[in-house]
Symmetry: D2
Subunit: 349 residues, 4 copies
């Protein structure tokens, strides 16, 4: 059994990671840390785990972590993982980082998107961007994998095949995303009365996840790709929909597009192509993904404007965070990629 | 006191129109009709009106309507108003139509967007498109006013000044809209368990409201304007947000843009320009508009992509339907335009 | 025009009071205070008021308040109104207090239900409990009126006629109430992700509002009445339902019960008796009361157990707070009791 | 591998049963039926199963079911299972019925609670009431198990230990329950706009589940027990809270009560006793149970009134339906009772 630790286990992402780990067939949880809750039972802070574990929170202690764990998940707020990840890396341990601190490949990108100087820029190159559908071979060999931002991974999975096949106008890529309240993290949520019923634009320009999307798409394209992203808060707890508005460079038939997507993802276990003319589920909708690790992708064509609307949906705590983390662990450790992730979506919920 | 009638008073839009009329200082309600509920008390079908009126539903009878009413609101489903409006028009009565049946100016547009042949195309020219902010002078003199679609009016109010001042690339106008469940009408809603928590794309291409937006913007531009519209269902009951993604033709400063909007709407009572760097309300959000007749407009600039994100929000049953209808009545009948519409938004709700 | 002030205008209750005041035909708002927001525009904190007022927040200054206002509403947190109310009272001004600080008639009750000693117990007798349906004549003459707790007023209005007519077993009165998130106040709400979808018992025993209900029902009964109250948080923003489970002392016919309620409330403008065998609205439900000042009351009989289930619903920010406050002002100042409160519920919302 | 069939696989309960079955380690699904969807892929109607099964819907054919299946789940609407269950029973197959048709033990009970005459009253005695915590030994040997009503099982699990130990006044047992929209079934839900935000009493007296609770508690007590039940619809999709208000016959200490509950359920895998003075989870709340098979139970004492408030929560589609069905199958077939049910709740959701 692989021994794993979770640093920052009191938040939503840490809790979801633990939800998956307690039922994962190949691992045992050796240590969980949280600065504020040392000594407390895990299930008092993560009530859903009551009955599944008797673990208590420990202090963050690099030596103990290294001693007790083969793999450590770091689920701390952005900006606070830089030191933790480096310390663990230097001790030779495998790390799956759920913060943004090792996602971008260079220091300039942190300046631009986060507004702070990265203290360990030389470690950025050691980190693999944790999307197995794009970087599986690298992840297999990585010591440090950085999980993608929830909106970033959801959007880029829909856009990647379009960029790779060079069929869209790369000057006008618009990602209009909609996301639930758990995306804000457990430390910073708006009170229910002010958050319920919102359709609230936030950061209509310059959202940080833009940096990751551009990085990954540019790498695929072999040239600088710009993306226009605008996220919105809507009244769900879990769920992301990215409506990726693009313009086709030339006429292309619907069945050709499906072929491109099947080529890209036909073998992928966690990507489902959604296509139905009738029935309940014609286009991706995170309502039908809650609790699962899928990214559902579909599209529609607006011939009048030569527009291709590629839609992608996910559960932001799963494929958008903890699910991707476990998927990365499975790849890094040679497990079946679906181990511990065979959850159907919960419907209706 | 102006005597008014409401045809189709059992739905959400008819109910909202009546909610406004029972407290309107200048009118009395003479007659309400509903095929299914003849003889029933209005408040059994519209429980919020209990205590405000003892009216009962009548059958649709053109002569009685003409006899009893100075103005008639028609709030019947799309496609069923064509005959009713014509019959009332021929009797010389003023009509405010809340269906889509007289919004478009020509038969081809009905072919394209609705897929049916309009039975009275010669009456289309008699109808004024009911957005006072765009057509106030015509509405003053009109016998027939057709209220706009909820997403259409919300979007076009944000886009009109940009088109009028010719500052955006008209080849890449994307309207990504998000709307609540009351927009579906009382006859066709999805059950709660399947509708709660959705972020569901519907008609990502070719939505009918596109036709109205293109019609109005083309009229302003003096040339054919195309709009790429994609609506989404989200988990609110009332509310629309339109995120209008546009690309600037040339650099333009933020303060210049505010000036354009102030020029366009500075005198308008039902348009509020939203602009705050801190606080709760930085960008338009229908959460802060529930029950009011406002359309809130704001924008942000994405310099990296020369993108202007113009956002507009409204309550789809108010400015998007019944509120516009009352506003049109006020203009047509010479009342103060705010009469019966001085509602602050309800917050929080 | 009556000149009014609002102390503590930045919260939900203060905001709702102002929403009603800006459209009240008989008043003008002279002054609003908030410790944290001095100098700020009111509408930055209360965005729904944008376009309705240009007031800015002032510091709390008793002399200025006395100078500028005929009536002051105090909408500060429980425990912080004791001094403010006394200071204003001593200056001879009329006060409508929205906190709990002057609701209970004696010091022991504060010990028991709030756990603190009231600093001005001699002022408790000066305060009239602000439910016009129970104390209208006293309110007319009062200088200080204390508005009831939201669940307390909703429950007691359903129970009062049953107690007055001595038809229920007073040993087994159970008030099971359900309430929305705005009841928590703007300062203390749970984050959306943790509050959405709850059906959460809180204070199943010993909730503070019990004290008010017992006080008022005991006064009606002429003997000590005990009430077993258990509130629950549910996923709405506004709204209270009280399910008042009682046991009948002897058989009584349904029509007799309706007669008792009609006798009690037949003339009351803000109480609606709900009784329908079919249709949408068979029993009280706050869904159909949003934004209005009504308390809807209905009942059902469980013959098997001789149980009478008296149900009552309200909007907790209206009849449960700001609406009652305005109603009290109208009574105190000789205005029509419905002035500024002629709002139909907003449906659907 | 056990071969199972599901009759009525297109609804919420059938879908949830299939969600559990596709990942159950001991079974394979041989056949699913639905009158309306014969020939259709299962995942078009149950989109969450896409990727988990390629089954198509068959017609209901007793011979084929008997031929292909060891166990059949019947998940058809109440009143329509009477014939199906009898036909399968007569063919010697094991049946787990999710309708109400074989829950009550005698014909009079169907008259009283359902208002129809049971066509096969002699089969009622063959059916075991499917609550393993109460009838495990009988279920082991049963050919036909009838799963309990969702509110019934949730309530009775909290009340059973109190009745068994004879510590409460059995004349005043009040079950105030709150339930989500999925409880209505897929065929009969109210549209979102009218269901969102409700706190709606329905059947405040004489709800059908009362019959089951009384049957089971009376059996435990050895005398007729009456229960006063009142359900309410609230704005969640999944979840039930039962607030069971009872009055203690004599003083009893809190720790004694915990002891009784531990004695009753200490060994039970799907019952968790909830008791915390601080933290997020002090009392049962279905928010923290979504997707799991737990029934969480806790209580509070109201000394003023000698009232014991026993609270119980569950996911109505899991412990309240499909989860209980799988648990029953596990018991009937000698599997580990937790097989296929080791789901942590999904939090937050």
């Amino acid at each position: 059994m692989l021994k794993v630790g979770v640093v920052g286990a009191s938040g939503y992402v840490g809790g979801e990671t633990l939800r998956l780990l307690v039922n994962h067939p190949d691992v045992e949880i050796s240590m969980v840390t949280s600065r504020q809750h040392v000594g407390e039972y895990l299930h008092r802070i993560q009530p859903s785990l009551k009955g599944f574990t008797d673990l208590t929170f420990s202090e963050l202690d690099y030596d103990k972590l290294t001693d007790k764990c083969d793999v450590v998940f770091t689920a701390v707020p952005h900006g606070t993982a830089t030191e933790i990840v480096k310390a663990l890396y230097d001790r030779g341990i495998k790390i799956i980082d759920l913060s943004a601190d090792y996602r971008l490949h260079n220091q300039e990108a942190y300046d631009k998107w986060y507004g702070w100087e990265h203290p360990h820029p030389d470690y950025l190159a050691k980190s693999v961007f944790g999307v197995p559908e794009l970087h599986r071979e690298q992840i297999k060999k990585a010591q440090l994998v950085s999980c993608p931002g929830c909106m970033a991974v959801t959007s880029m999975l829909a856009l990647a095949p379009l960029i790779r096949n060079d069929i869209i106008d790369t000057e006008h890529i618009i990602v209009d995303s909609k996301i639930g309240s758990s995306g804000a993290g457990s430390g910073s949520g708006t009170a229910h009365a002010m958050r319920a019923g919102v359709i609230r634009p936030y950061k209509p320009a310059k959202h940080r996840h833009t940096g990751e999307i551009e990085q990954e798409l540019s790498e695929i394209a072999g040239k600088k790709i710009r993306v226009s992203m605008s996220p919105h808060a809507v009244d769900v707890v879990r769920g992301i929909l990215c409506t990726n508005h693009t313009f086709l460079k030339k006429d292309i038939e619907e069945k050709e597009l499906w072929k491109l997507y099947r080529q890209a993802y036909g073998e992928e276990k966690f990507i489902r192509l959604i296509r139905d003319k009738k029935g309940l589920y014609k286009f991706p909708d995170p309502k039908f993904l809650v609790g699962s690790n899928f990214c559902d992708i579909g599209f529609d064509i607006d011939e009048d404007n030569n527009r291709l609307i590629a839609m992608s949906a996910s559960d932001n705590l799963m494929k958008g965070a903890a699910g991707s983390a476990i998927q990365n662990m499975n790849v890094m450790c040679g497990f079946d990629e679906m181990d511990g992730l065979r959850y159907t979506p919960l419907t209706p919920v």
